[in-house]
């Protein structure tokens, strides 16, 4: 096989850029499969305990702030849009617009984390800390819920949104790295695989939240039903 010219972006062990791009894409999708299974363990725990302690779950959920959850959902979906626009700009070779969109994505991710911080600190302030003298107002317990079982809901709440938060922080780091290599001119219309791959990851982080929001926040609406 002969080639007219070897791209400067072509790694030594690939034959052509097409092969390199396809490999990166397949690798990223497989990594996302791994991530689905990784979160899947937690979702399993959630499903099982929700089935077993349904009243406790709606009690705990009802205590979460739906408005803040909704705000964060909107923020994260918007960040998915800016990320998609960054990918588009990178494909067109619009370096300045790519950088802008990446920075906007980081900013929105930052807003998400700040809102999360306020949510968590309010909960901590009210003593809703599993394992450390967990407090929950008795008047907010519905049906057969007990403080002990609501504690399980909150253990899962902190684990699930915490693990998601770690993914958001990692996302900020890799998008920051993208911004850096884009500034140095290493993203071109010919080769923009890193932007596409990080884009996939970021949409995944978004989708996880789309599942977490109803499971953690909207479940409490049962109380009025």
């Amino acid at each position: 096989m002969s080639h007219g010219h070897k791209s400067e972006f072509l790694a030594h062990h690939f034959e052509d850029l097409e092969q390199q791009k396809e490999s990166a894409a397949l690798g990223m999708w497989l990594f996302l499969c791994t991530e689905v299974l990784f979160f899947g363990g937690l979702f399993c725990c959630y499903a099982y305990y929700k089935y077993r302690f349904f009243d406790a779950f709606i009690s705990g959920s009802h205590h979460l702030d739906i408005k803040l959850g909704l705000l964060n959902t909107a923020v994260l979906i918007t960040s998915s849009l800016t990320m998609a626009l960054a990918v588009h700009a990178a494909q067109k070779g619009a370096r300045g617009r790519t950088s802008l969109m990446l920075l906007l994505t980081i900013a929105l991710a930052g807003v998400f984390l700040v809102v999360k911080y306020f949510e968590w600190s309010t909960k901590f302030h009210h003593g809703i800390i599993p394992g450390h003298n967990f407090q929950f107002p008795a008047e907010d317990l519905y049906g057969g819920a007990t403080v002990k079982t609501v504690e399980i809901f909150y253990s899962l709440y902190y684990c699930m949104s915490g693990l998601h938060g770690i993914h958001v922080i990692l996302g900020i780091v890799v998008i920051g790295w993208l911004w850096w290599i884009n500034q140095k001119g290493r993203i071109t219309p010919e080769y923009n695989v890193p932007v596409e791959m990080v884009g996939l990851y970021w949409h995944f982080v978004d989708i996880i939240w789309i599942f977490l929001f109803p499971l953690l926040y909207l479940l409490g609406l049962h109380v009025h039903g």
Binding site: G27, F38, C44, G131, I152, C159
Partner: protein, 553 residues
């Protein structure tokens, strides 16, 4: 390892059979080894690392066997014994068996067998070694500070409650090791999909590649579940939140379900690669294509898939529902079908073959017998009634050692002997290597066969004291373990001798089929092939094959 290569590079380099410009002498600095992205060098640093953990795990095994020489617990306290067998299990399973064949032989061979210059993601491959060694360092730290006594299964509520020692540190180490395993699997799948040489279609792939593909699927789909499960246990232990511990309202059975969802398929991470090696070696030393090639290839995938749905057979006595037990029993029996397909097809490959008995082939014969016993005794457990009697006895211990030591390690040894001349371009003393294979077989059976009888008679696992009637069988077992240790020492001597004094072998000493033998040199150059090979024939197309092959699907 590095220094021995430097000192002896002079001698075989004179021979025209020895490839002078190879991956071994492409740089001698520490940097050229520990920051390498060459899959072959990464395979060798893995080889050194997993050998270290194997010796460590073996040391704890010897402590266990010494304690069991006498019915009274006179060598260790019961607490010390619990720590010894826990560390044996953790070192052997997580830091030796799971990475063994994929990370060493898989890393070395996957690109060579499919005609690629490297794995798809060389840097991630290096990263996975650092994650492995980082995880190993954490586990070692916990071990040096007294170890842990949770058993390798970390069952809650004990592991998240009263268990002392660095449980959280060990779990963090396993988490890192787990992601190292995931990255290896991910790398292999992408490489096999996207980097095969022209003409190398799926059903022309060597069966070792099929086995690695199936293994990689389990690694990327199973490992993340145990990673999150153990992480939750660590968080529960560290922060006292309630997920699994009934004291906090949790359910310990949930932990077991999630744990075995990975840890049963993990057994296939250990045995499938060994099965791949058996197919390669048996074909070469019978001079025949593997009988029913496509059935053997697909059976690897079947084992990987069915393996995900059988975990409940570890939990019949936990209070799991009778109905769930029934379903898991039926599904567990199903795994026997693809396993039997393999065993029958290997046997049929031998039929009218031109068989020779070099060391790798002796290990294969050992594997066939041992795997047959290990596999058939596995069928005792899904039999719901019988499991009640055998659960948590030495029968279980004997069964899984037949698969993991007799099966996986014998396969690993067969592979190491078979591809050693490719890896280092040198011969090892054949007679001594054959003696090693025989000693391993005898030592292994002497160690573990008595444990079947012990278990059937009611000897429970995890106990360091027992009734005096059991002593004779325990003495046999410990004696066997000593022979087995010699069986592992002999290959070490062979390989050491080979590195120092071995004659050059030439590119294809076994006259074997496959791109790594036919199109590359020994040792291979850094870029593997002078030009990307084009494949025009089926796998294992031995010249004298046509005369003897009965059917070909």
């Amino acid at each position: 390892m590095e220094t021995t290569m430097e000192t002896n590079a002079a001698m075989p380099a004179e021979s025209p059979l020895y490839n002078k410009r190879n991956y071994l002498n492409n740089g001698y600095s520490l940097r050229s080894w520990f920051l390498t992205v060459d899959h072959k060098r990464i395979a060798l640093i893995y080889l050194a690392s997993i050998t270290f953990f194997f010796i460590l795990g073996g040391f704890f095994a010897m402590l266990v066997r010494l304690e069991l020489l006498t019915p009274k617990g006179d060598f260790m306290t019961s607490d010390g014994y619990n720590r010894a067998f826990t560390m044996h299990g953790i070192m052997m399973i997580f830091f030796f068996l799971i990475p063994s064949i994929p990370a060493v032989l898989g890393n070395f061979l996957v690109p060579l067998q499919i005609g690629a210059k490297d794995l798809a993601f060389p840097k991630i491959n290096l990263l996975s070694w650092y994650m492995y060694i980082g995880g190993g360092a954490l586990a070692l730290f916990a071990m040096i500070n007294g170890g842990i006594d949770t058993t390798w299964r970390f069952y809650t509520p004990y592991s998240t409650g009263h268990a002392s020692g660095y449980v959280v540190t060990t779990i963090l180490g396993l988490f890192l090791m787990g992601f190292s395993s995931i990255f290896t699997g991910l790398n292999f799948i992408v490489t096999i999909h996207k980097m095969r040489a022209p003409g190398l279609t799926w059903f022309r792939l060597p069966l070792f590649i099929w086995a690695m593909y199936a293994t990689s699927l389990i690694q990327i789909l199973g490992t993340p579940v145990v990673a999150i499960t153990l992480s939750l246990a660590a968080v529960e232990k560290g922060l006292k939140i309630g997920i699994f511990d009934p004291a906090y309202g949790g359910d310990p059975i949930l932990f077991q379900h999630l744990f075995w969802f990975y840890s049963h398929p993990a057994v296939y991470i250990m045995i499938l690669p060994a099965m791949g090696i058996i197919s390669e070696v048996i074909s070469c030393f019978s001079r025949k294509v593997v009988f029913g090639y496509s059935f053997v290839a697909i059976s690897s995938m079947m084992i990987a898939v069915i393996g995900f749905f059988v975990w409940g057979h570890h939990m019949f006595l936990t209070g799991q529902s009778q109905f769930a037990g029934l379903i898991f029993a039926a599904l567990s029996f199903l795994v026997a079908i693809p396993s039997a397909v393999k065993t029958f097809n290997w046997t049929a490959t031998l039929y009218k073959g031109s068989i020779s008995f070099e060391a790798p082939m002796l290990y294969v014969f050992g594997f066939l017998g041992v795997f047959l016993i290990g596999g058939l005794t596995g069928l005792f457990f899904p039999a719901l009634g019988l499991d009640r009697h055998l659960h948590d006895t030495y029968f279980v211990v004997a069964h899984f050692h037949y698969i993991m030591v007799g099966g996986a390690i014998m396969g690993y040894m067969a592979g190491l002997h078979f591809w050693w001349p490719k890896m280092f371009g040198k011969k090892y003393p054949e007679g001594l290597a054959q003696a090693g294979a025989v000693a391993t077989f005898i030592g292994f059976n002497l160690t573990f066969f008595p444990q079947f009888i012990l278990g059937y008679m009611g000897m429970p696992r995890h106990y360091h004291e027992y009734v005096p009637e059991f002593q004779f069988l325990h003495i046999l077992s410990t004696a066997g373990a000593s022979v087995l240790a010699i069986g592992y020492l002999i290959p070490a001597i062979c390989f050491g001798w080979s590195l120092l004094f071995g004659e050059p072998t030439g590119p294809n000493p076994w006259n074997a089929k496959g791109l790594e033998w036919e199109k590359s040199l020994s040792p291979p150059p850094t870029e593997n092939f002078s030009e990307i090979p084009v494949v025009t024939e089926e796998a294992y197309n031995y010249p004298d094959a046509e005369a003897t092959v009965v059917t070909r699907s």
